[in-house]
Symmetry: C3
Subunit: 386 residues, 3 copies
Amino acid sequence: MRPQDALPVDLPDPVREALLAPLVDHHCHGVRRDDLTRARFEILITEAGTPAPPGTTHFDTPAGAAVRRWCAPVLDLDPHVPPAVYLTRRSELGPAEVNRRLLRAAGIMAFLVDTGLNGPDLLSAAEMGRLGGAAADEIIRIEQIEQGVAETAASAASYITALGEALAGRAGRAAGFTSAIAYRHGLDFDPARPARGSVIAAAARRLAHPGGRLTDPVLLRHLLWAAVDVARERGLPLQFHTGYGDPGLDLHRADPALMTGFVRALQPMGVPVILLRCYPFHRQAAYLANVFPHVYVDVGLVLTHTAAGSAAVMGELLELVPFHKQLFGSDGYGVAETCHLGALYYRRSLARALAVRLADDEWSVPDAARVAHMIGSGNARRVYRL
Amino acid sequence: MRPQDALPVDLPDPVREALLAPLVDHHCHGVRRDDLTRARFEILITEAGTPAPPGTTHFDTPAGAAVRRWCAPVLDLDPHVPPAVYLTRRSELGPAEVNRRLLRAAGIMAFLVDTGLNGPDLLSAAEMGRLGGAAADEIIRIEQIEQGVAETAASAASYITALGEALAGRAGRAAGFTSAIAYRHGLDFDPARPARGSVIAAAARRLAHPGGRLTDPVLLRHLLWAAVDVARERGLPLQFHTGYGDPGLDLHRADPALMTGFVRALQPMGVPVILLRCYPFHRQAAYLANVFPHVYVDVGLVLTHTAAGSAAVMGELLELVPFHKQLFGSDGYGVAETCHLGALYYRRSLARALAVRLADDEWSVPDAARVAHMIGSGNARRVYRL
Amino acid sequence: MRPQDALPVDLPDPVREALLAPLVDHHCHGVRRDDLTRARFEILITEAGTPAPPGTTHFDTPAGAAVRRWCAPVLDLDPHVPPAVYLTRRSELGPAEVNRRLLRAAGIMAFLVDTGLNGPDLLSAAEMGRLGGAAADEIIRIEQIEQGVAETAASAASYITALGEALAGRAGRAAGFTSAIAYRHGLDFDPARPARGSVIAAAARRLAHPGGRLTDPVLLRHLLWAAVDVARERGLPLQFHTGYGDPGLDLHRADPALMTGFVRALQPMGVPVILLRCYPFHRQAAYLANVFPHVYVDVGLVLTHTAAGSAAVMGELLELVPFHKQLFGSDGYGVAETCHLGALYYRRSLARALAVRLADDEWSVPDAARVAHMIGSGNARRVYRL
């Protein structure tokens, strides 16, 4: 399955070529290096984190149907094969070959890999690049940095110092930072930088139980502002998970519009704020990108999970987002199918949107091609200084 | 007008047959047994509860246009006849014949009737079944049970006991419970089970004015948890009205995502939570169904009221909802037109969505047919153990 | 470029004629009378209020592409000319001719001009009418009235009296009031009329700094209720900016559903409440118009800014809005392009929605034509008593 075989519409050559050009995947994760049981595979094609109810399967989802339709041919199977056939073939080829095929066929020139979830089971950024025939850089998850600092700091004061140093240290080898505050607190956090006194007090509490997951609002805000300081100095963007995610978040508190005060506070600093996923608040995200000069958006993983319905999501994002503010990110994780489908549905949904604009006599062919290049790689190159 | 005449697109035979197969309507109400004036009829085709402003008519709505288009032929009239002609013919045939024709032509095999609004003017569940040529079961509205208990309990302690007994008693003959807490409080209620002391105190206040509508947050939560206890024991699902409804609710407090904490608390108990209507938060509802194993959704009444625009709503629900998590419910009430149009727009909008997926080479024909069967009746049979 | 050349679909003659009939633009602003630099022009085709980031341009937005596509031919240029060519031609023709051409070609019979932002650089309502070949009336921005009163009142008591008098005085020559409370506070304001004592106290504080922008919640509510009193007496509607706007607002606090309590309080008074823009909460707005007899909506400016994507927005508004409750407003401001595109995308997006309803065999041709007339001018004539 070559990318061009998956475009759902005829398009003029320049537009088609722009869509098929290699992409910069500005936010993804590593995929598993091991052979997977069906139970494990099913968990990795859903955000649910639990098995499907008795008598049902996670293959009976838009994403599950998409795996059978689009990934099967990459493994030399017919489209729509039953899950068992797909998984048997997957084991037969082995994880290295499956990952190589699916990543390579995604047509990606560079992966920016969020390594915050990484363990020995997941491919590193460098391995992702090697298997995918692409360059690779790292995105640093700031909550992971904090975890390391909390587990080693001797005092509240040294926690603060060490956190700043750790962020600065990792920044040197990173393309950007990413924050999961949507999961740890919600995006309705107080936008102000917390006072040092309250940070010291909270850090002292934190150090009494350093192994726990950071959820203290003062420390989460301190962490964010510490990352802002480093990002500002190094010219790095700051990504935020927003909207759609696992059941650990409260969706209504993951609306990126709730961050408007924080976005406003960052405006004079020129630190790019990049909103990931966003669904079903992607119109709110596009609005923020429309009115704030430093806000960028993607709908990453959402295209993979809405699959056959992804064209409507892409269409809604395009309603307001400036052409120089949208990015491509697969947000793939765990199985290479998610990276592959992220790229595939990005191309399919954007192809549909461009075809509509051309058929409606709204955009010119050169403009459509130019916009596809900007979103697919140009904007990411500029924002991440690749 | 047979259902098959109302499909808006050509579909392969298996998909067409699956769409036309009899449906399980898992949430509807009784319809009026008497002849209706125009004023009364107009009120029953809107959620407004008030006459249209001077010089206007509730027929000038998407639902009103749909009555003239789709119900007129069932009464042997031409499509699009003026409202006065429609209502004259309606009176001429008489309510029994009108109800029989419209319910029968809806192609429904079983009605689960929420009898919480019932008075002598509305058909009972059994009558709905008889006229519609279908089986019929009852859904119990828990706020109605509470009303009866409040009016007869002698003390706060006996209120608590009697409520548990009344719920258990009604559960024996019911297919499920339904809650209207979205109207009484909003879905942003405290998810914790209230302490017995606070329930006793609130019950004492309640018994001082037992005739009133229950709006006390502690008692509403107690009622919910009492219903959960019974539902868990009997294996019954718990339905929630969410989103779109009459002007008595505050729409922004009817977002089902606001219930995430409660949904999370119910997860280990295995009580199915069924989100009704949901609009315009149906994407939030689909998300909850996607990530929580015990959450189910429909967009019931919303398809009737969005009518010519219903395909977009169905399309958005299908973006994330697992195929085994969506249900059909007409949410019809008061006039049989609402049941008829609920089934009709369910079939029309799903037909459109399936046709798009087939045309886009996304789903196979057998998969499309299988999904139509699951949503139309299979899922309801499993969840309600019919 | 005549309006009829910009319809994207073939339509039966009566529907086509209804769409092309002159519109009542029930909410717009004045446009600049002077020649504009590129920097100034770019700012006026976005809500951002700031220049596009280095290396980018506000022309790379849906609205910017629309200017090049649809306004260029009105200035005798080819569609899609580069921004520099467009702006050179604009200067060559001069602002008076550009304004005359773009406004005239919009096909508008009456402008209701919100003069609250007016300075000497903007055309007055009368000038807008003259250049556009249309009637013109004024909409009074109540926060502007308050500013004048605050700057001249001698005491808190006289502030209250003068405010009532100023509103009543301006009402005599106005078609309606408009409120920007979404920008000054958010729509989550307390719906109750504030007590006189608290108004006096707040007014005293206000008079100590009369030059500032009114943001005091008590005075904003007092102003609103004072406007309601006058509106009720004179039969004037009250417009509210909701949803999409400049970066000064918090989008999640601009959801019109947050105003439900206030809407409910106004219901017995019969003062029409008109919700402007609404995006991305236009479904919430349509819901309010569906269930409250005195609520009206438009998506004004949003059609201009979503441009090639506007059909989806119009489609979603039409899902629930009664045909007698929707209005057309360009919300144009600053450059005549925004008025022109507002009318153009209103016609294009409604044409698309009507074509779908006809092709789907949902509406009759006479109904489609009638609805187009109602939304385009009939509803505004009734509500504003033009």
